[in-house]
C-alpha cells in the first residue's frame, strides 16, 4: 500500500513576522512542519502498522528550505521524501496541480493524508483541489479514521458539536483535524535515521503544468493592528464588576 502525506513548510506560529516588498514576509524566521500535517503523518504511521507492505511518502512543494520539513516528516515515520522544488509560493490552484503531477510521477497512491489547513495561508482547500485533479473522494476536518478492506470510514467535525460519519473507497484523501491523534515527538535516533532516508527532488518547472482557470494573488500584506481601549478596572471586586457591566452597556454597547 502506497501512502502519501502532504506536508507544508510554514513559519512557526510564535515567529515575529516582518513584511517586505509590500506583499511578502521576511523568511529569515524559524519554520516548522505545518501542525495539522503532523497529525496527517501520525495517521499514516498508524495505518502503516495495520497493513502489510506499506510505504509512506511525504511530499512537499516549497523553496529550498522546505527540505527541513521533509526531514521532520521522515523523523516522524515517513519512509521517503518527495520534494517539489519551487522558487516562489504558488497559490493553491497551482500547488494542487503540482502535487498531483509529482505524486503521479512517483507512484500510484492508495491513500493520501493532508492537514485540514495550513497555518500560514489558512486556505482550507489544497486537498480538495488535489482530490478533484486526481478524481478521488476527499474528507476533511477528520477526527477519527478507520480502514476496512478498500474502504475508509472517517468522522468529520461539523458545526455545533455534530460529527459526520463518511465512508469512501480507496484511493481517497483524508484531511487531518487536530483532534485526530497526538503526533509523536521524534526521538534523537528517529532524527538520525531520517537523515539516511531518500528524498527525490523534482522542480516545479519540470512538471509542465497546464494553467488554471483562476488565480489568487496577495497584492498587499500589512500588520494586523489592534486598537483596544486598555482600561484596567481597579477597586474592590464588587465595584469593579459593576463598573465593567456599566461600561459594556453604556460605552461599548455590546450587552
Amino acid at each position: 500500500m502506497k501512502i502519501y502525506v502532504c506536508v507544508k513548510h510554514v513559519p512557526d506560529t510564535a515567529a515575529k513576522i516582518t513584511i517586505i516588498a509590500n506583499n511578502q514576509i521576511d523568511e529569515k524566521v524559524t519554520f516548522i512542519i505545518n501542525p495539522y500535517d503532523e497529525n496527517a503523518i501520525e495517521a499514516a504511521a498508524g495505518l502503516k502498522k495495520q497493513v502489510a507492505d506499506a510505504e509512506i511518502v511525504a511530499v512537499t512543494l516549497g523553496k529550498a528550505a522546505a527540505e527541513s520539513t521533509l526531514q521532520s516528516a521522515l523523523a516522524m515515520g515517513a519512509d521517503r521524501g518527495l520534494f517539489v522544488h519551487s522558487d516562489y509560493h504558488p497559490d493553491s490552484l497551482v500547488t494542487a496541480r503540482a502535487l498531483k503531477a509529482a505524486i503521479e510521477l512517483d507512484g500510484k497512491p492508495d491513500i493520501i493524508f493532508s492537514g485540514n489547513e495550513s497555518i500560514d495561508s489558512e486556505g482550507f482547500q489544497t486537498m480538495f483541489r488535489l482530490g478533484a485533479a486526481l478524481k478521488v473522494p476527499v474528507a476533511s476536518n477528520v477526527v477519527a479514521f478507520k480502514m476496512e478492506g478498500r474502504f475508509v470510514t472517517v468522522e468529520c467535525k461539523m458545526d455545533a458539536g455534530s460529527i459526520g460519519v463518511i465512508r469512501m473507497p480507496l484511493p481517497c484523501i483524508v484531511g487531518a483535524g487536530k483532534a485526530l491523534n497526538k503526533p509523536r515527538y521524534p526521538t534523537l535516533p528517529d532524527i538520525m535515521k531520517a537523515r539516511k532516508k531518500p528524498i527525490r527532488t523534482i522542480t516545479l518547472d519540470s512538471l509542465d503544468l497546464d494553467s488554471p482557470a483562476g488565480s489568487m494573488e496577495v497584492v498587499e500584506l500589512r500588520p494586523a493592528f489592534e486598537k483596544r481601549r486598555g482600561k484596567i478596572i481597579g477597586g474592590p471586586p464588587e465595584k469593579a464588576v459593576q463598573e465593567l457591566v456599566e461600561l459594556l452597556r453604556a460605552e461599548a454597547k455590546v450587552i
Partner: protein
Amino acid sequence: MQKIGLLIETNADGVKPALNGVITAARGPEHELYGLVFDGKGAAYTDELQDYGIHKIVNVQSAEGLLSWNPDNWARAIVQVMEQLGINILLGLTTSQTKDVFPRIAAILDAPLLLDCIGVDLETLTAEKSQYSGKTVATFKLRGAHYLFGIRPNVITAHPAPVTAEVLSLQAQIGDASLRVEAVKKDYAGTMDLSEAQIIIAGGRGMQNGENYRILHECADVLGAAVGASRVAVDAGWVPHSMQVGQTGTTVSPILYIACGISGSVQHFAGMKTSGVLVAINTDPQAAMMQHCDYGIVGDLFNIVPLLTRQLKTTLNPE
C-alpha cells in the same frame, strides 16, 4: 446585472443571524442576489431574507426531493445551479459546512476561493483575510471565471435593505456521489456554535479543572453566550476540542469575548483577535491578554466570574 449566489445556512430558529452581514456585503446597485436553500423551506425564510436584500430564494433539490447532507452532492448541485442561473460569484459564512462545500465547488470550477475573509469588495474582486496566526492582514486579488468567498461570522455589520423576494425551485441532476454520509451524530450537548456566537466567555488554565467550567456556563446562560477554552484546557482533557479557540481550534469573532484565566498566547489570539470588545479577567496584570484588552479586571476568576454573573442578572433582567 451581476448575479450573486449566497449559501443560506439555517438552524432551528431560521436563517443563521450572522448571514445578514454577508448579505449586506453582497449587495450592490447592479447586483441580483440569489439565496440557495437546501432544506426546502425557502418560502418560510422569505421575510428574513428579503429584509436584507435577497431577490430570489432558490430551493435546491434533486429529482428525488430534498438533498440530505452530503458535501459532494451539495457542491455538484450548487455548481449546476450557478450554471443554470448564470451566477459567477458565490458567498457564504465561513462555517464547518462551507469549509466542506466551497472548496469542492472551487475545485470543480477551477475557481479562486478565499475562506475566512474579514472584508470583501465585489466590485474589484478583492478580499481581506488574516494570515500568519492573525499577525498580518492580506489583501487578495482574485481572477477567473467564477469567484468564491466565505466570510468570517460577525465581522461585517448587517444593515437591512428590504426588497420583495420571489421563491423558486431548481432540480439538480445528482449522479453517484464519490462518498457516502452514513450518519450525522452529536459530539457533545452544546447547540450553539462557537464560530457564530455573538458573545463568548472562555476559560484557560486558570479554570483548574473541567468541573469549574460550570461557573462560565452560568454566566453564559445570562448573556446568551457560548463557552470556549484555551488549548491547555483541551489538552488537559477538561473540555472537548470543539471548544478550543485559537490557531489550532476554532476562529471566532464575537462582538464580546470574555477571557478568564487565559494568558493570551499568540496562538490563542490567532483565533479571537478580530473580536469586537475584549474583556480579560486574570490574576496577572502582566498577562498579554490584560495588556491587549478593552476592559480588564485583575483578580481571581473564581471570585470575579460569579460576581459578574450576579451583576449581569440584575442589570439585564431587572425585576
